[in-house]
Amino acid sequence: MASEKKKLRVATTSLAGCFGCHMSLLDIDERLLELLKLVEFDRSPLTDIKHCGPCDLGIIEGGLCNAENVHVLREFRKSCKVLVAMGACAVNGGLPAQRNHLDIRDCLQTVYMTGTGIRRGFIPNDPELPLPLDRVHPLHDVVKIDYFLPGCPPPADAIWHFLNDLLAGRTPTLGHGLIHYD
């Protein structure tokens, strides 16, 4: 009776990330089954649902490198009560932000026009393609982020600990061993 508690609805996505954080989530291994007793997935690479419905929790990997990332992030913010930035890229911009000291115009020109072996190149301009932002930004530069889960990627144990705290109503804290400073 009381055990028939409503499952928490969770959405996840990877923006300008490498899916490494999602792989780390899968690394909680058999604890996934335990997790699935408590949550059900909405939009996520695990379900292939394309758009987010109303959710309790959104977990986002990766920062913002293009216009589509911004749209997806806003969809998540609108749909999720609590939003978590997972991993170094979501928290700080991470590896993709290494391009921030370069001019995006030069990047596109080098990649599509002047790079080695390119003949008659041009910069793709199909409206279907999202345009890159001039700089890569962390998520909290655009929407409110409720919790940050650092790490590159955060270890599976850290993700597990973090979700358990969150699901139990405790403010998530990653103690010694689960968080690394440098």
Binding site: A67, D103, D134, R135, D141, V142, K144, D182
Partner: protein, 594 residues
């Protein structure tokens, strides 16, 4: 190339301790330090290549890529900006069709910015290939641009361009007492080293570099510390933006400073001394060397000074290479040893383990000058001025919105109001005392006193009138700290960058209430957990401003709890430009569309 290197290396006796000086010479002769040069230097000095590369990469004035035949660096202190440096730089960038910080296509020139060059009383200022040019105007920029276009060698530029003026507006104890060279040394010899130390202690002279440690105690500890050799270092790495009093002391009172160093050497038993001169003051080098030569000739430096058998002492000038953090005494010592200027763990302090791990006294320029007079005239000479815990006077560098910028020597305990009246400041909105790492005072705090008990100061006194935007001031300070953080410890390296980003967003109107909280939090983390004083003080101005100028922030806040910290649509503009797109998907709205 390698023959030139041989000459440079020979000049420095192939001494790895002189690596910073060697690299200075390389830049002077070649314009920059190439990877090949790094390899050769490492081999010839028997140092790991990474060590040489690390040092070359650390200092702002060591370009490791071609920086153009003329490297132009505009001083970027807030006082330079207030005097119009941004517009002048823009003109010059346009004249040479070059982007900020980049080299022109023909390799002729690069134009960028550098931290305060200590010419705040005659700004805006710039450095061209390391040489300082003050009082920039459109006309000056025009003729400088023309000479660069014409590729005129720097030595043929009109000499008056490089004239540095001295503005001493008020003299007190220190600046008005005459010195007969050697008199303080004679007084010390007559009294003996122990009594000399005791006298400095009795005067309650405290360090004028900002920290305020009692000089006599420092000397006593150094004298008592066992070691193979003792050293005296004069810290003339005057990097705190808005500070230029040491520049004036070294240009007009050099004898006095060297006298103070020699007395200190006698007191602690040192045979060698260093004057660590900041790179921004190259115009002081030749006159200082000349003063040293005169003093050697007069028997005030060298062997058996004044006929005292084992009183041997001489002074070398070591020139920095553009690193604020080297003003921290242990970082300064690292730099003296030819290393990156990263502050050491303390303790042990330099008095027991300084230069080459030997007992070392590091004193500020002004402290040494005062010590000379204390030894000469007795402890009471200093104590006739000042307050109980702040004996004597303080030399202030006044700049910003004042009628008479320059040097003001005032007794400790002088109020901010007195200084403002003296220098002719009206409609004062704020005063930054002690530079960006010091205290930001509001209009209502003019009764506060310059002294260790209330508002301590390393010497800077920058005035901002009602027309100035405090957020721009803070943004300038934040950029300074982010640029000057040595990167060694995370709280400072990351904290200063975060602070710069948040203040920049706030100043542009992209801030939220949450940012104000985060700004304070970052400042507190830096204060509590940084490795040295740079990080510990980097958030001071922001914390003061959040308390005293809160409406300046609030009127810039957006109405949303959270909003983008940058212009989303504009950030797509470069990609729109190269793809030629302008469809709906090529734009982003600033606020979330419903």
């Amino acid at each position: 190339m390698s023959r030139d290197l041989s000459a440079i290396l020979a000049r420095h006796q192939h001494d790895p301790l002189r690596l910073v000086q060697i690299l200075r010479d390389v830049v002077e002769e070649h314009g920059f330090i190439s990877p090949g040069t790094i390899t050769t230097l490492a081999e010839r000095l028997s140092l790991p290549r990474g060590r040489v590369e690390g040092v070359a990469g650390f200092y702002a004035f060591f370009p490791t890529e071609n920086a153009g035949r003329y490297r132009v660096l505009f001083s970027d202190n807030i006082t330079d900006r207030m005097a119009g440096s941004v517009e002048l730089r823009q003109r010059m960038l346009e004249a040479f069709q070059v982007r900020d910080g980049e080299v022109s296509r023909d390799g002729l020139v690069s134009i960028g910015t550098t931290s305060c060059t200590g010419l705040c009383d005659q700004g805006p200022a710039m450095l061209v290939n390391g040489r300082a040019i003050p009082r920039l105007t459109r006309a000056r920029i025009g003729s400088i641009s023309a000479m660069i276009h014409g590729q005129a060698p720097l030595d043929t530029w009109p000499a008056n361009l490089f004239d540095i003026h001295t503005h001493i507006e008020r003299k007190d104890l220190l600046l008005s007492t005459p010195l007969a060279a050697g008199a303080a040394i004679d007084a010390a010899i007559a009294r003996g080293p122990d009594a000399t130390v005791a006298q400095v202690k009795a005067s309650n002279l405290r360090g004028r570099g900002g920290a305020g440690f009692t000089t006599g105690v420092k000397w006593e500890m150094c004298r008592a510390a066992p070691g193979e050799a003792h050293y005296v270092v004069c810290n003339a790495d005057e990097g705190e933006p808005g500070t230029f009093k040491d520049r004036v002391l070294l240009s007009d009172y050099a004898d006095l400073v060297f006298e103070g160093m020699t007395v200190a050497a006698f007191a602690v038993g040192a045979k060698r001394g260093f004057l660590y001169l900041r790179a921004e003051y190259p115009f002081l080098l030749a006159p200082l060397e000349a003063t040293l030569a005169e003093r050697r000739k007069a028997g005030l430096l060298g062997k058996s000074i004044r006929g005292v058998a084992d009183f041997d002492f001489d002074i070398e000038i070591h020139v920095g290479a553009g690193a604020y953090v080297c003003g921290e005494e242990s970082a300064l010592i690292e730099s003296l040893e030819g290393k990156r200027g990263i502050p050491r763990n303390r303790p042990p302090y330099p008095v027991t383990s300084g230069y080459l791990q030997q007992p070392t006294v590091v004193n500020n320029v002004e402290t040494l000058a005062k010590a000379a007079f204390v030894v000469m005239h007795g402890a009471d000479w200093l104590r006739v001025r000042g307050t109980g815990r702040s004996a004597g006077t303080k030399v202030l560098s006044v700049s910003g919105d004042v009628a008479r910028p320059g040097i003001y020597e005032l007794p400790f305990g002088a109020t901010v109001r007195e200084v403002l009246d003296l220098c002719g400041a009206t409609d004062v909105q704020a005063v930054q005392v002690g530079g960006p790492s010091g205290m930001l005072l509001s209009r209502s705090e003019q009764h506060r006193r310059i002294m260790f008990e209330d508002v301590p100061s390393a010497g800077a006194f920058m005035v901002f009138d009602d027309s100035r935007d405090i957020l721009q001031v803070l943004e300038n300070f934040a950029s300074f700290f982010a640029h000057e953080s040595c990167g060694f410890c995370t709280p400072c390296r990351v904290g200063t960058a975060l602070q710069r980003r948040m203040l920049s967003a706030l100043a542009k109107g992209y801030g939220t209430r949450r940012d104000l909280k985060d700004l304070a939090r970052v400042a507190k983390v830096m204060k509590a957990s940084s490795h040295c004083g740079l990080g510990a003080t980097a958030g001071n101005a922001a914390l003061d401003a959040l308390e005293k100028f809160k409406p300046a922030f609030e009127k810039r806040l957006g109405t949303l709890e959270v909003m983008p910290t940058f212009d989303l649509d504009r950030s797509l503009a470069p990609a729109r430009e190269v793809t030629g797109r302008d469809d709906d998907e090529a734009h982003l709205s600033h606020e979330e569309e419903e």
